[in-house]
Amino acid sequence: MATVRLEFSPEPAHVRTARLVGVAVARKAGLPEDRLDEVRLAIGEACGRAVTRHQRHGLREPIVVEMSDDNPYTVRVTDRAPDGIETRHTDPVDEITEEASLLLLTGVADEFAVSPAEDGNGSVVSMTWPLKRSRR
């Protein structure tokens, strides 16, 4: 169940907006400041990936970002690209960029998964960060 849901046209200019909203929801959920950079990076990577996938197919449908402030803080980014989850690259720099993106996502989110969208149309990247609510 989403607490905040954001849809944006698949353009790079809007990825920053998704980062800002994601960090705002994470902060409100109680994620500590020193983990917010990770949230910012992970949402940026997931949304950037979704935008690239839509652009590759000339899709104008929006990308959907759902953020839940339950424990754990969860973000799901859904795209509608018809190709499989893997992509083929002709430029080695593009390949390095994609590998870096996956490494960053695995490296900064506590849990990270890519799966086909429920209706089989596109893919969903989901990321979670547990909230440690401790009293000091």
Partner: protein, 122 residues
């Protein structure tokens, strides 16, 4: 502007000072500027990330591309970065093994030349 780019020359090195956010939207502008500088014939390129607040995989890709194109043009290429949050990104992706990273511009321009012959004050 989400991304700022400014150029200066330090000890015969072209220093490109990058500021703000380097992401999927702004990275192409950085790539364009790096290409322009190499095409203009710079022999030594230093990319100063001191004022960069955010860098994602697209930005990393542009920096790797910059290194490759510099090598092809016979120019040296180095990065200046001391911010922990950015250094972490280079470490996680193991690109700190590929990209020449220095903590300051002075270290980056001084790496190829030692002892500028600073005179003694007497």
């Amino acid at each position: 502007m989400d991304l700022s780019l400014a150029t200066r020359v330090v000890a015969a090195h072209t220093v490109l000072e990058v500021g703000g956010e380097v992401d999927v939207y702004t990275a192409p502008k950085l790539r364009e500027r790096l290409t322009e500088l190499l095409e203009a014939g710079t022999r030594a390129l230093v990319v100063d990330l001191g004022k960069v607040e955010f860098l994602d995989s697209t930005g990393l890709g542009v920096l790797v591309g910059g290194l490759k194109r510099s090598r092809a043009a016979g120019a040296t290429f180095s990065l200046v970065c001391s911010r922990d949050s950015l250094l972490k990104i280079f470490r996680i992706t193991a690109l700190d093994q590929v990209l020449p990273l220095y903590p300051t511009v002075e270290a980056a321009v001084g790496s190829a030349t030692e002892g500028d012959g600073v005179g003694d004050a007497s």
